[in-house]
Amino acid sequence: MELLPQLLVNGIISGTLLAIPAIGFTAIFAVLRFPNFSVASHATIGAFAGYAANVWLGLPAAPALIAAFLVAALVGLASDEIALKPLRPYGALTAAIASIALTIVLENMVRFGFGNELRGYDLPLVRDWRIAGVRVGPQQVQNLVLALIIMAAVFAALKFTRIGKAMRAVADNPTLAELKGIDPVRVGRLTVFIAMGLVGAGGMLLGLGTSIDPLTGFRFILPIFAAAVVGGLGSIPGAALGAMVVGIGEELSVLVLSPSYKSAVGFVAIVLVLAFRPRGLLGERAY
């Protein structure tokens, strides 16, 4: 029990980082109505783009994060146009399966270019701070702040900009939005661009504290999916909340379960929510 405050801190940090890709995943679901599992490889691509900017070009973490966002966003847009968009008329299941195939292709392209080795970002490594018996790393705090800034920007954009309002309109009622002169194809493209950018940035944030390899994104697909389902698929605040639930739940599970069952927390969260509250904690409203 003396570990409880420490585990809570660990959980809040990992939940916040998880929220960024989860928001991207759920935003695509809200607007395009299918679960895009290629977020796994886009998180990897973002992590590697950030790595290239950080290690090869010598940029600090924050600008490298922008590189991660842009590269993942552009790859996301291109791969969606080529591979997923033509299949969307055949239904959500078809598109979802295609996205799994897409993620395998993209992951192996990363492997082809970068190889299988582990790579670490070029960041100064410092010992953790200890505050009232709870340890927290300076790098973690920086990641946390970056994640919170990104989230604030997303919420502000959805609330105050025309693009954000258009996205919410299409998510709520595509037919009505089209009648009002909003082009759903354009909004779809924008959504994919922003969402995959978020996923890429999230992939880099998750990788910053550790090492990355071509499987980096794939390791997070279950918690990302669980976060989105728990919060309510298609609900952006829901994804953020769901990420906290999954992140904190995974860390706290260490108290009662062997750590080798950590991933089970994601599964259990999905099962519980689907059994008792299928629309998720916050329901389906996009915002």
Partner: protein
């Protein structure tokens, strides 16, 4: 449209796959298979493991082959993944018809490939340590040159006690040897009045902060890592960040040069590693040095040199080229009465009068279930991101 495409594809694929079988019927060469991790976490070792095997084969072919026939090597990649390894082993067995598969690395991979080997009567020579491997019903079709994990952990546990451990801890992922490792360390700790904690975590996580917090609750002064390179990288970083000041030991395959290169040097400073030591003063070791063109031969390449030599000598001794011949004759050449030889070529020359092969990885004597006996170990300590010899036992 789709199914038509698939059919055409399958037809082409089948034709392509059957082509080597036709070639096989025409050629008279003996086929041996190398199944090493050319990619994945074992990718640091796989290529030179394969090169050691092909070096032995080249030397034997140059000296006139075995039983009047040439040997060809078919090399496949395990990708350090059991399912890729099974696919590759199927190909080696069904398409190429090899008589031996050599060099499987990582216990999960050897365990996955093993049933294919004994069912097809193909000899499997591996470098994996889990105790469970030689306890499989393999009917003699498995021999390993890697000391089993019980022996490895016992040696390392004794080392921890000698280096002053009073509160030991083991942290690692779920592997075929996790439970037995913990059990052995608990025995050693109890016999020496030390404490012992253990924690099994889930592999492939990007952070182990909470796991590290938990294992450090009782303030251990000597930690043993039980994973492979990928999770050890994450774990070593998390342990360092936590401010842990005690000693750490990890298997050399987990704390290897890629890990040292991926981490800042202060994280790995003073970490101990250990591994089965190759017989560095032997003629066989010098032969592997020459084959690979390197000064320091890793223990796995030394072992695969022995795999190839033993397989070839066993075929020559039995007068046939099947996996079953190797199975029946391997001990006659590895621990037989007669002259000690250190290469396949010398062994073939002296076979008449009886030989006892002694290799680059050690004396290469096997017990009845295929475990190696009489291995020595080397402990190293990391300093400035490089491992330096600490002691040999």
């Amino acid at each position: 449209m789709h199914s038509l495409n698939r059919r055409v594809f399958l037809g082409t694929a089948a034709a392509a796959l059957s082509a080597p079988a036709i070639l096989k019927a025409q050629s008279d060469a003996i086929k041996l298979g190398s199944l090493t991790p050319l990619t994945g976490v074992g990718g640091t070792y796989g290529p030179s493991m394969r090169d050691a095997i092909s070096g032995v084969i080249a030397q034997v072919n140059e000296a006139g082959g075995v039983l009047g026939r040439e040997i060809t090597l078919v090399s496949e990649d395990t990708q350090t993944s059991p399912e890729a390894a099974v696919r590759a082993a199927r190909k080696l067995i069904d398409v190429d018809g090899v008589s031996a598969i050599m060099g499987t690395w990582a216990s999960s991979i050897t365990t996955a490939v093993a049933p294919l080997a004994w069912e097809s009567q193909t000899m499997l020579l591996c470098v994996s340590g889990a105790d469970s491997i030689t306890q499989l019903p393999h009917q003699g079709f498995i021999c390993r040159t890697q000391p089993n994990s019980k022996l490895q952990i016992r040696v390392a546990g004794d080392f921890m006690v000698e280096e002053g451990a009073t509160q030991m801890a083991w942290i690692g992922p779920q592997t075929p040897f996790a439970a037995s490792s913990i059990e052995i360390l608990e025995e050693i700790a109890a016999a020496n009045g030390a404490g012992m904690e253990s924690l099994i975590y889930e592999a492939d996580k990007s952070t182990y902060r909470s796991e590290v917090d938990q294992i450090l609750v009782n303030n251990p002064d000597f930690l043993m890592l039980g994973g492979y390179a990928a999770d050890s990288t994450v774990l070593l970083r998390d342990i360092w960040q936590s401010g842990y000041e005690g000693k750490i030991i990890g298997p050399a395959y987990a704390v290897n040069q890629t890990v040292l290169d991926a981490l800042p040097p202060e994280v790995t400073e003073n970490v101990f590693t250990w591994e089965g030591a190759p017989a560095i003063d032997s003629g066989a070791y010098a032969n592997v040095q020459a084959i690979l063109g390197v000064e320091d031969v890793d223990p796995y390449s030394a072992q695969t040199y022995d795999h190839a030599s033993l397989a070839i000598l066993a075929m020559a001794a039995g007068g046939d080229v099947t996996g079953d011949t190797i199975r029946q004759n391997i001990r006659a050449v590895s621990q037989g009465e007669g002259q000690m030889v250190e290469s396949a070529v010398d062994g073939l020359a002296g076979l008449e009068g009886g030989i006892n092969y002694s290799g680059a990885s050690g004396p290469c004597d096997f017990d009845e279930i295929g475990d190696i006996t009489g291995t020595s170990f080397v402990f190293k300590q990391i300093s400035g991101a490089a491992a330096a010899e600490f002691k040999r036992v």
